[in-house]
């Protein structure tokens, strides 16, 4: 028994809580957050009405020329429409910004899916919109202004972990596109409407769909009755033979990376890296090493380079683009330097993303030591990287916030 009474409890609570410093009240930020919350409420209300209208409009379409199979009707749909303006009588913002906007959703092979746009940079950093499948696997659509004449970008996710029979496609179209038809290789036809989504200050008309393993034959964009563009994706996209140019070596046929599940394949060449930066460097056992990141068409690619005074090596490990993790961060292992006849030690690299709250990590090593890892910025995202001699591994990690408080461990 401690003998704590009401007075003691009150006194000790005051002793612990009263000295806690509070930063200046972020009135502006809270007002913006509250206003966005109000706008979302209105968006939800308006979207419900729009969905009802869409159902009413879809009935004649389903009875007409485009008659997908019953299960396909659930497979493919643009689930959300953005109202162009809210009702004037309430004085709501005319064009509220959508964050995390879903522009297509459905069910494929019994699994629900959705395609959405989200800023994948850290809060407060530059805005970096990505199209995400089920809030994870993402790609970076080109966001430049002034596309015209149909389809501005087209990407396919042909290899989804756990879904061997399903692929996904996402398109950015020009503002004048009113509808799209998709001819599948199994003979069926889908009808889509682009959904304008506000992302990072730009209005992106987007469309998306899922398709069966056999793939997509044609995609046609219309402005009313006029055909604006017709695309025939190469059959090789759907046969599992995909590959990417290695980061930093556009057009180099000799530098290709294996097809990574969860990484989108963009139909037209895009800049190989949207952002890049050095994450960490150092010297281990006489070998200089550095780990950098290249974020782009091939995913989140960690590039490790070593030089031991005689020979230089380079290793690249690409992973799907994902938003910053909710916890302290992620670390994945890759071979930074192979152990060879000439390089007896070998090096192991670890790299990943830091959570928004993470100020640093303490990584526990297999030999009992610990090492502190601080995030490095690249493209508005914060990454973690370290290198270890090949015999050592990271056995656990604790993440800390700016106040030095532990926020997560694994």
């Amino acid at each position: 028994m401690t003998g704590i009474d009401e007075q003691t409890l009150s006194r000790r609570l005051h002793q612990e809580l009263d000295p806690l410093p509070a930063p200046p009240a972020p009135v502006g930020a809270v007002i913006r957050r509250g206003a966005a919350r109000r706008a979302r409420h209105w968006m939800a209300t308006a979207s419900g009405l729009a969905a009802a209208a869409a159902v009413a409009a879809a009935v004649p379409l389903l009875a007409g020329r485009v008659q997908p199979a019953a299960h396909l009707g659930r497979d493919v749909r643009a689930s959300h429409t953005v109202p162009s303006a809210t009702t004037g009588s309430t004085g709501r913002p005319a064009a509220p910004v959508l964050t995390g906007s879903t522009f297509a959703a459905g069910t494929a092979a019994g699994r629900p899916w959705r395609l959405s746009v989200r800023n994948i940079a850290d809060p407060g950093a530059r805005c970096l919109p990505a199209i995400l499948l089920n809030a994870t696997d993402g790609y970076l659509p080109p966001t430049g202004a002034g596309v015209a004449g149909g389809i501005a970008s087209l990407a396919f996710l042909t290899s989804v972990p756990g879904q061997p029979a399903t692929g996904y496609a996402a398109l950015r179209v020009s503002p004048d596109v009113t509808r799209l038809t998709v001819g599948l290789r199994d003979g069926r036809t889908l009808a889509l409407h682009p959904v304008p989504v506000q992302a990072c200050g730009r209005r992106l008309p987007l469309a998306g769909f899922s398709y069966p393993q056999s793939g997509v034959a044609t995609i046609t964009a219309y402005a009313g009755a006029q055909v604006l563009a017709r695309v025939t994706p190469p059959a090789s996209l759907f046969t599992g033979a995909g590959h990417y140019a290695a980061p930093g070596t556009p057009g180099s046929a000799g530098s290709t990376l294996r097809l990574v599940p969860g990484v989108w394949q963009q139909l037209w060449r895009t800049p190989s890296a949207v952002a890049s930066g050095l994450l960490a460097s150092g010297r281990l056992d006489g070998t200089q090493w550095r780990i950098s990141v290249q974020l782009g068409a091939a995913g989140d690619c960690f590039v490790g380079a070593t030089f031991d005074g005689h020979a230089a090596t380079q290793a690249t490990d690409c992973v799907p683009i994902v938003p910053p993790p909710a916890g302290a961060g992620t670390l994945q292992r890759f071979v930074l330097q192979q152990r060879t006849l000439h390089q007896h030690t070998g090096l192991t690299g670890y790299a990943g993303l830091a959570g928004p709250r993470t100020a640093y990590l303490v990584a526990r090593l297999s030999d009992g030591r610990s090492v502190r890892v601080r995030p490095a910025q690249a493209g508005g995202r914060r990454y973690l990287a370290l290198a270890l001699p090949a015999g050592l591994t990271v056995t656990g990690v604790t993440g800390y916030d700016r106040a030095g408080q532990p926020i997560a461990r694994w």
């Binding site: 704590i4 009401e6 007002i31 957050r33 309430t90 408080q405």
Partner: protein, 190 residues
């Protein structure tokens, strides 16, 4: 259900005001928020034990209050209204966080080769750690009653309970704190 009358974050949002009222609304809300901010952050810290999370919870609660400002300012006790939002948000975040992340035990910290500020945690927040072991409603009652120095009626208003419930829950919470091993180890009556 967490509390006697759970509303969660404000569900019914402002539907009547026009944009012309926005500047005065912002000014009025700004004054309200500036006055309450430190207290709300400390209350959220007491509930969550995480300073960063506390600021975020306080911001979320005030943002909800701003979204329904017409309703908050017409409430009989706007402070109670905002506290109630904050408590509900903090409970949800706390619960989500506990599920998502393994609870940190200071004793499990590695023998760090680097200076580790987390070691200070155990010293600093023994009492708060014990409070956070209480069920959500009792935790809120302890903080509102014994730190915020609210009357039973005010605590009841903030939680949507009856004053009698507040008294009985406070009594149970106090009993649990008396039995707390952590407090016993540190000498609770010091």
């Amino acid at each position: 259900m967490l509390f006697c009358d759970v509303t969660g974050e404000v569900a019914i949002l402002d539907t009547t005001e026009t944009s012309q009222a926005e500047p005065s609304r912002q000014q009025e809300f700004g004054q309200f928020m500036t006055a309450r901010w430190p207290g709300l952050v400390r209350l959220a810290y007491g509930l969550t034990g995480d300073r960063w999370l506390a600021e975020d919870v306080a911001q979320a609660a005030l943002a909800s209050a701003y979204a329904a400002w017409w309703r908050v300012r017409r409430a009989e006790d706007p402070d109670a209204y905002v506290r109630r939002i904050l408590i509900n948000i903090s409970h949800r975040r706390f619960r989500r966080r506990r599920v998502a992340e393994q609870a940190h035990e200071p004793a499990d910290l590695p023998d760090a080769a680097v200076a580790d500020p987390a070691e200070l945690i155990g010293e600093r927040s023994v009492l708060l750690a014990a409070v956070r072991q209480l069920p959500a409603r009792q935790r809120a009652i302890v903080l509102l009653r014994y730190w915020d120095d609210l009357s039973d009626a005010q605590v009841a208003a903030a939680l949507g309970c009856s004053p009698g419930t507040v008294r009985s829950q406070a009594s149970r919470a106090l009993a649990k704190l008396r039995d707390s091993a952590a407090l016993a180890d540190r000498g609770g009556s010091q």
